[in-house]
Symmetry: C2
Subunit: 802 residues, 2 copies
């Protein structure tokens, strides 16, 4: 079931006719457009498509066209006899109701066939108004959005029609449609067209054209037919109609030209993030026309595969395999998020946040504080992205430590972390990471801290293996093997065993050595469970948990002088040892299947950073949460002791409203059991030591992934190319055997990436992915369905075997 | 002319009735609501308000109400006899057409009177559909938005009515309206209510209620009246109607309760930017209900002023005097920006940007490259805010210098800048600023550079004075005086005079000293014209220009060893000396009246940073533009030589589309001469040496401000409190005589801030402002009208004299 993509051919101009209301003359004006197009482009084929028709067949729109537009190729795809809204007609009929996907696929197939036959025009006529429900009850404006056909909006010329036309336009616009023409009857009483011409011209540069109204119905059918025929004959010659068609044709050409020129223009004028521009070519730059659900609609650059298909669809859907740099959760162009953004923009715009509060910021703060279920956290600070949020976190933590331990301003403080950590690209966030490819050449980078080695987890030949790097084997042994990933996460149970004692001893010994070297630390900072940009490294959760525990009981290793009043372990919410900062920018908010990744470790951080999925994949926003005991360090009578950090758009209303919608939607998905199907695919099984939980408990106890256990098992046996694999939540990461160079500089994953981009099923199933050296990963959205993931698994298995 | 604010009283519940279409039963259902409310709340007053009515008076809606809802207080504000859309009726009538402001003010006055009379309900009935034009041609949904009344949407029960109802809802929603109830007739054939109940319930949690349809019209008027009376009698008892009213009442209470509880909740759970939280109290936190145009709608916390006004309007408009931290340009809740954001969200969501291109990013890049008219700039890099954009800029510049001069990785590079510069709050951006209050206590801050003293400009007692700090007087003299600010900006002319020679010599001498100390620099980085966060410091433009020129001709002072192939001055677009970085985040994109602030200096930087107004004040986005000669330094066969900086939401489509709309709108305003009225208010005058230019040339040659020259002159003579003042573009900055503490820690401006917040005209004219120590500033939007600015001037003059 390949996705249905947008429609764009060079020689076939495809347009969708929407009505501002029912009974505004859609069919009549479409008939005129068909006739006029036939006259102007005499050698080309003009087609009319009615995807869904209701009412008696002999009164149907296609019959009208057959009679009055005889040169037009006419087709209706689905027809119900009852003259009412398609959803109502379908409901009471015995005919099977097509799913949205089936309907779209049939339209796509039909129009593709037309396109193969050569140049021409195709007008797709919708039913009723823009939001009239289709057979499946999805309203048309949502239903047809993936096709992204340019729109001819038939305006309403009746009393009240100005309002109907503008509202219909707005419903189209906020779903990313391009309305290219507004066409309506030249009705002389209300003259709506006069107002609408000014309105659409001034605000949107869209021209409004009019056609004379049809003759009133005559009771004698023969006379009626004759007068209509005459009307059609005259109106198809109207200059306004010709103008509309010529303009549509021009915009069609310029849309294609623009898509085709953009890569070369971008090559000249864009400086890309994380890109060696010397290796860039215009051909490597993907022109994205639009995106819908899990897919980009990208400009097809492959030549036609055979001479029998002279005109290929210029757009093709590509699965967004990096979830657009790990941000996507609720699908591209999700109307709920769009409406949320628009509502906040319309209610507030952006309002300055210092010493002010507005509903969406308050509600997001409340959702996070409740959702994280971390009794330590009580304060929410807003910033713009994960990098700024991590800078805020480290500023918070270092100050808290300095105040507690009485260090003066000149004492140089570092952080404790893990090798391969990455917290963002601003200098302060870079300084939290050990020297690596990402930062080693950045002029002002200066790693400030100490980063531990640690054991990692991968599935290898069906076993979940805890690997210990050679450097640590003498300290903590040779690692362990588990039957399931759930067993790896049984940190309570594993904490009783010998490995935990060894981890403790190793960490404690290292901290003592650092103390003897006179080094000072102000925070423990980690990405819980998975180190993302560092190469999708799955850290043994027992190690991270132990790290936190050892740091928390080791105040004596951090204090310079004995501290007078160290908080007791009994007060759960006061930080001890060092403030513990979790960077959950990537791992949190359901990316790994749970609201918070800290729950995998059974640890409550003192500071927690959240971004990316926070806004479901729409706009940048970040929150840094902190405990009162961290916050207290900034309270004084001196303004300059405050956290003097703030961005102009702090807590911008649009971002907060979108975040609120995203968080609530993901929580609702969990509660509705949307992910239960994934959990049954091998993740919750008798051989796991984790009990099967009810959906509501899932967040705290189940380990699951959108990727099936059987698939993980299969590719983990592909030892010729794969050295290990893991899947958690929506993330799959495959470590490929390297080709010499290691890590980020390796190109081992590039051929796999290229193969998936080329695609399967004649390219219809293809994947746009990003790689991290020899690590290949795919991240689906939180809304990606089971069928799609299983198909992706098939595609990946095939690509790995190639 | 105080602004018209939103309507919210504790005891009077105020609702607006919108129709999904004309002829959907708005008046009938409003009549039922009135009758039902009168029955349930027997002791309270129920009111009906028709702001605009068309058609013969004896058929008007208010007559209908008078007959069928006799217990209701009824009022119509504007009436035209012709039964058509208000804009059309008004156009052909001889009655004066009220402006939107007049209409809103009249509504506000009328409802305020009602509120003073005690508890009750008021239903305001609109005309036609949501987008039906009002008398001034503004459609109602925009016209009434500032009132922010909760909405009862009357659904359309006819064929096609599902679409009409949903589209009307979306038009309301994207203007920030809260639709609290959908009400429609229980029509038995199409049963739209069934579908709509599911739709609004599932997607928005809004309940849809139905009322039986009215009897069909009887030809005998007496019988007709009787059957209608009976219908009203029965329907006002319908449970559904009671449920609607009870729910509206509940939501009314909870809206107020939420607004009132938010400050205390925020006080507990929000960590504010740039705020000493110890000094915060719940009372100091402003609850912002919404914002419109130049105004916040904030919760009124003052007690009622007298016992005769028991119920005050809980909301009051406050002028957003900091332009929401310098971001606002096109007004809060600008529908054009909302639609732009929604369109991009609907077309793309966010799409990953590495090696990809989409239309809004391409178009923004093109607009900036053309608009800046800087032949050096050829590359656009996207990030999320001014701070990240400045980090990108400094990374670019330092690398370029290092590669050119052959310094190794260990060579410590600083920047050259000005004292009081500020480039953002991330560590790397902080490191670009000299030690100051903002950064001195930040643990990882380490100022990396050398910052020059410089002469500053202010208007004092009517003269534009170039002040030289004492430390520089022996070097560059005692400063100068000019008759107009335009003369200060005559940098070409002034460059011929002695002052310029002295500036050169001082800068050159200082650079030589730094070279002898062995210090290495990789960039010259400045905010052109105005240093913002540093205290709204107006730097002598001749000094900044000279600084750039000296640096550019002084390669020999920066190179460690003689450089083999120094680019010649002849190649305009290659950086020489050091890459020159202009941080125009605050000063650019029309904030000072021109597309680029660099035009004031007649200098083309090699790197230029733009944010804030870039998106007109809606969502965060930043662009860093660079020259090819800077870009080249990153080209190599090693991926790790690339600029490894990138945020997940890089070039997010929503931000880019909003930026494009904002830039085009501001360019169009300039071309349309929207700001010409400001330019005549003393800025372009015979005594200025600057010639009067045509609007199209204005960007390059005219110095102007929204603040009138007469006003600046007046307050510059207020020497008891004011030590100096300046105005440029939309910014006004007043330096107040200090009360002891200086700079950021001074509280000299606090009393002025408090006075303006309290307001004038019984608080209706009040200003929300931010201060920078002893500097008081107000920044209007680019769309703020001349009348409003002149009124602000009056308010400020009064406040300064108090």
């Amino acid at each position: 079931m390949p996705p249905v993509g947008a429609l764009l051919w060079r020689a076939l101009r495809v347009h969708q006719v929407y009505g501002a209301n029912t009974d505004v003359g859609k069919t009549i004006l479409t008939t005129i457009l068909c006739n006029s197009a036939s006259k102007i482009w005499k050698d080309e084929q003009v087609s009319y498509l009615k995807p869904v028709s209701t009412g008696p067949q002999d009164e149907a729109d296609d019959r009208h066209l057959e009679y009055y537009a005889p040169n037009t190729n006419i087709e209706t795809l689905f027809q119900w006899d009852i003259p009412t809204s398609p959803h109502a007609a379908a409901e009471v009929s015995s005919k099977p109701i097509p799913t949205d996907h089936e309907l779209l696929a049939k339209i796509h197939h039909h129009i593709s066939q037309r396109a193969h036959q050569g140049s021409g025009w195709l007008f797709l006529e919708t039913a009723g108004g823009v939001h009239s429900p289709g057979p499946s009850r999805t309203t048309q404006v949502d239903l047809y959005a993936p096709l992204r056909m340019p729109v001819i909006l038939i305006g309403d010329s009746k009393l009240g029609g100005i309002s109907q036309t503008v509202s219909a336009f707005e419903s189209l616009r906020l779903r990313g449609y391009d309305v290219e023409s507004v066409l309506l009857f030249r009705e002389p009483v209300h003259e709506n067209y006069r107002y609408l011409a000014d309105y659409f011209g001034d605000k949107y540069g869209i021209s409004v054209e009019t056609v004379g109204a049809p003759p009133t119905r005559h009771e004698n059918p023969r006379i009626d037919r004759e007068s209509m025929a005459e009307y059609y004959n005259e109106s198809s010659e109207e200059k306004a109609v010709h103008d509309v068609l010529l303009q549509l044709d021009k915009r069609h050409q310029s849309r294609i030209a623009r898509l085709e020129e953009m890569p070369a223009k971008a090559y000249q004028s864009i400086w890309y993030p994380f890109t060696q521009q010397k290796h860039l070519t215009p051909e490597r730059i993907t022109a994205i026309d639009s995106a819908y659900g899990d897919h980009f609609q990208t400009l097809q650059t492959r030549p036609p595969t055979s001479s029998t298909s002279p005109d290929i669809n210029l757009l093709r859907p590509s699965f967004d395999g990096s979830a657009s740099w790990w941000t996507q959760g609720l699908g591209h162009a999700n109307p709920k998020l769009t409406l949320a953004a628009a509502y906040a923009a319309g209610r507030y715009g952006h309002v300055m946040f210092a010493e002010a509060i507005h509903e969406p910021a308050m509600a997001v703060a409340e959702n996070l504080l409740q959702g994280l279920q971390n009794p330590r956290l009580s304060r929410v600070f807003f910033s713009d992205n994960g990098s700024t949020g991590c800078e805020v976190a480290v500023k918070m933590a270092l100050r808290a430590a300095r105040v507690r331990y009485g260090w003066d301003q000149d004492t140089k403080l570092g952080i404790l972390g893990l090798k391969g950590s990455y917290h963002g690209d601003t200098i302060g966030a870079m300084d939290c990471a050990e020297p690596c490819t990402f930062n080693e050449k950045v002029e002002w980078y200066e790693g400030k801290g100490f980063w531990f080695d640690y054991p990692t987890v991968q599935c290898k030949e069906g076993k979940w293996v805890v690997d210990v790097p050679d450097s640590l084997k003498s300290d903590i042994g040779n690692g362990e093997e588990f039957a399931s990933v759930a067993d790896v996460f049984n940190v309570e149970g594993r904490n009783q065993a010998e490995a935990a004692r060894k981890y403790e001893a190793y960490i404690e010994r290292t901290l003592e050595t650092l103390q003897k070297q006179g080094r000072k630390f102000g925070a423990l900072m980690m990405e819980p469970v998975i180190l993302g940009a560092g190469g999708m490294i799955f850290v043994d959760p027992l190690f991270q948990r132990t790290f936190v525990n050892v740091v928390r009981r080791s105040s004596y290793l951090f204090a310079t002088t004995p501290i007078s009043s160290s908080p007791s372990q009994a007060d759960d919410n006061t930080w001890i040892g060092l403030p513990v900062v979790f960077d959950e920018v990537f791992t949190g908010l359901y990316r790994l299947g749970r609201y918070t990744a800290s729950s995998f470790l059974g640890v409550h951080p003192d500071v927690s950073v959240h971004a990316k999925l926070l806004t479901g994949g729409l706009v940048p926003l970040c929150t840094t949460l902190a405990s009162d005991s961290v916050h207290e360090a900034f309270l004084s009578d001196d303004k300059s002791d405050a956290l003097l950090h703030g961005h102009s758009y702090t807590a911008h209303a649009v971002g907060c409203q979108v975040a609120l919608e995203s968080l609530q939607e993901m929580q609702s998905m969990e509660n509705r059991g949307v992910w239960d199907a994934f959990k049954t695919d091998g993740w919750v099984s008798p051989d796991s030591s984790t009990p099967v939980a009810t959906p509501r408990d899932a967040n705290d106890s189940i380990v699951w992934s959108a990727w099936s256990r059987a698939f993980i098992d299969t590719i983990s046996h592909h030892t010729a190319r794969v050295s290990g694999v893991w899947a958690l939540g929506s993330v799959l990461a495959v470590t490929l055997r390297s080709d010499g160079a290691t890590g980020y500089k390796s190109s081992a994953a590039l051929s796999l990436q290229a193969r998936l981009r080329e695609g399967y099923e004649d390219g219809r199933w293809n994947v746009h992915s990003r790689v991290l050296g020899n690590v290949f990963y795919i991240m689906v959205g939180q809304t990606t369905g089971r069928t799609a993931v299983r198909e992706l698994e098939g595609v990946l298995t095939e690509a790995l075997s190639a």
